[in-house]
Structures are given as C-alpha cells and as structure tokens.
Amino acid sequence: MTRALLWSRGAVSLIFVLALWQAVALSGAVPAKFFPGIPAIIDGARQMIATGELPRNEILTLGRALTGLVLASVAGIALALLSDASPFFDRGFRTISSLLQPVPPAAVVPMAIFALGLGIKLYIFIILLVSIWGPYLNGAAALRAVPREQILTGRMLGLSPAAIMFRIKLPAAMPQIFAGIRYAAAVSLIAVVVAEMLAGRDGIGFLLVRKSFSIRIPETYALMFVTMFNGVLLALLVNLARRVLTGWHVRQTGASK
C-alpha cells in the first residue's frame, strides 16, 4: 500500500497541487479571469500543444536546464574540491561566493548582454551565477566533515592527496552533495526560465512573457504548471543519479527504520 503510494508519489503530488488550485478557484476568493480553474488551464495547455509551441519550447527549456544542472554540479563540486584541497582558495572563495551569491541576474542583464551577447553564453552565465552555490556549499561542508578514520585509512594506504580526495572524501560526501544538487536542479530551472524571460527568444520563459503580454492568462498558468512538472521531472533524474551513485546511503538510511 505505502509502497504503491510512494511509487506514484509524483502523480500524487501533482494531483494534490491541482486539487488545491481548483479548490481555491472554485471558492471564488479571486476573480476567475485572473485565477482560472484547472479545466481552463488544461484547455490553454491543449491549445499550445496543438500549435506545437509548447512541446517545442519545453524541449528547449528542459535541455537547457539539464545542461545547466550538469554544468553547475560539475563546477560546484570542482570548486568544493578545490576549497577542500587548498585553505587559501577556501577562505578566498568563501568571500567571493558570499559576494556573488545574492546578485540578482535581472540586475546584471544589460552588462551581461554587452559582454556575452544574446546567445548561449548568456544562458550559461545566468544559470551558473544562480545554481552553482548548492553543490558548492553543500560539497564544501560535507568534505570538511568526512570522518577522520576514513581519511587516515587512505593516508595509511599511501594514497596521494588526490586519490584520497576522489576515492574517499568525495564518495563520503556524495550524499550531502546530492542535497545541494537537488536544490540546484530546482534553481537551474528557475535560472533558465528567468534567462529566457530576460533575454530569450524561445523556451518556456519566453513563452511565459509572450503569453502574459498577450493577455492569455490560462496559458500563463499552464506554463507555470509545466514548470512545476519540469521540477518533478528533474528531481526524478537527480534521484535516479543519486541511487546510482550513492545507493549505499539511500539503502542505509532507508533500512534503519
């Protein structure tokens, strides 16, 4: 029973959110014109599917988000490793990251466009600026907390610092790094959509702006639900990767109950 429930929890959650939405819509607390019910939203989605614009842009956005996530994860983990290897870099980059982290992408767009143009470089910049921090911060914290005995085991075996890093610290830190990657998955979707809104010509974010500027409210909300669906999809992928890479941990913590 619970097993079946857990297997379909993505669907359960989606239904839960949709039901909640519909309940608010039906309650009449806000005008239906600005808060349309689920049927109207589905209708909007159907129209966008019929014209092909939804699938086309969805693929673009998902592809970008996935690329962004991979980039942000790899870069974030690389920075975390670097921080762990060098106290100098650690202290210095900590300052830099504190300074960069709260910079809103919207605020640097003209400068960014000037330096990077309107193409793929701009997307990558915005995505990295926003989503690198989860893997980096969680990774750096996790690497610092690896049990002493495990590191000593590596040293005693005569492993080089690099080998200790990649064969002991990294696997030990993986579970917590994945917590960061999971956040990065959500954030990279946000970043892609925001980038598409600010500078884009296609993708879900662009469509979102276009639809709201042509006063197609149900479509706008349909796109919001698409974004949420993307969030679940990406989280699913992250969980899959987590199972492959840190299956031991999933089972260990799962088994203890």
Partner: protein, 264 residues
Amino acid sequence: MNDTTILEAVDLRKAYGHGLQRMPILDGIDFRVRKGDFVSVVGPSGCGKTTLLMALAGLSQPDTGEVRFRGQPVTQPPQGLAVVFQDYSRSLFPWKTARENVIFAMRDTAQKTRQERRDRADELLAAVGLKEFAQKYPWQLSGGMQQRVAIARGLASESDLLLLDEPLAAVDAQTRADMQDLILELAQRFDQTCLLVTHDVDEAVYMADKVIVLSRRPTSVATEIPVDLGKRRDQLATREQPGFLHARHEVMERIRSYRSQMAG
C-alpha cells in the same frame, strides 16, 4: 642502533589542548622494535595508546621526539605500513561492500589483476569467518563482523609493519582465538613486524615476543617484558607454558599498580 631495528620511538611527547586546557599525554616514549618481532602494548584506558600508534604510523606528528622506520624519520605514513583502527565502525567505507573494503587495501601486493584481488579478498574474508558476507555493506554487519572486516583489510595489504589498535575488542572468545592465530600465521608468512594494542593481558602475552607496558597519563614506557615462547604458538599448549605464565604474571603485576592510583 641495532641493525635489525625496524621501528624506533625516540622521546615522543604529545599534548592536547592549549593554555590552561593543555594536557600532556605522551611524556617521553622510547622503545625499539626488531624486524619480524611481534610487540604487544598494554596500558590503562586513555593513556595514549591510540595517540602513540598514530604517531608511529606517521598519521599525526608528535610535539617533540621522533619516530624512525627503517632508520628514516617518519613524517608521512611510510611505504609498507598498515593500520587497523580502534574505531572500526567509522574506519570502514560505508559505500563499499566488505569485499571492496578489503580490496581497497591491496595496492602494493602480489595480486595484480581484478580477479586475483577478488579471490584474495574472499580468501581473507573466509579466514575471518565472513565468507557469506563479502557482498554486505558495513552497516549491514554486526560490530564484531565490522571489526573482522577491518582486520581482513589490514592483513590484505601484506605490509612490512602492521599496527593493530584493539582489533579484537568486539569479537567473542572463540572467534578471538581464531583471529589471534590467523594474525600470527600471516605475520609469519609475510615476515611482518606487528605492534598490537590490547587490553587483554593473556592476548598480549600469547601473541607477543615482547610486551610494552605503558604507565598512566602522562604516559611513558613503564616496562618492557620479553616473552620467550618461540615463534610457534598454540592456544592450549602455549598458555600452559611456564614462560607464558611468568610473563603474564609480570605484566599483571605492573598493571596492578594502576589500581590504587585509579581510585584516587
């Protein structure tokens, strides 16, 4: 320096904490271990045995004094060294199975191919009684089983110097006896020098060519007691030999003196 000396501790001192918190632990440790010898170390809980072992292994630096391995000062873990840590539950890698944990230690060994290493690991796991558990993760094993995996890992490296920190604390008497013989056998086969920290005086004497008794904190070497029982040991016969009983008595005597201090 004797030319068969392989490991040497010279006036090791170490304190933890700073200022008022400062607590001297090792207070001038001196001893030598000859190549191929089996040395047991006994001492009261918290006297600094683990601290000493870490310094010998080059895993931590003493405040003053020096460790020499094959005549060279030790600052890094030297080639040809293996340690079985006291905290078994933390020293195994939770993301590796028992077998993988053992294979991990085979770096400079004769087994080169994957299959050879696997076979050797399984052989060692069987020797510690964990044949059926090769595929289990550490957290699927009982405390004593984890400790035996740690021993198998220590033995797998076939190092010249093997440091064992209470490796049998969590196993039952029978298993313990078996493990003792296993360690002795392999030590002889690979001509290993061993240093064993233990709380079991019988074990200390049974295994060793020499027992080092440490004093209470601040710690120094209280006495070194040679054990003259030859290289072949037997769980029944050896323990009944006069040499055994004599050495055991001497170690006990020495240890007993802690008691009065303890109460204070």
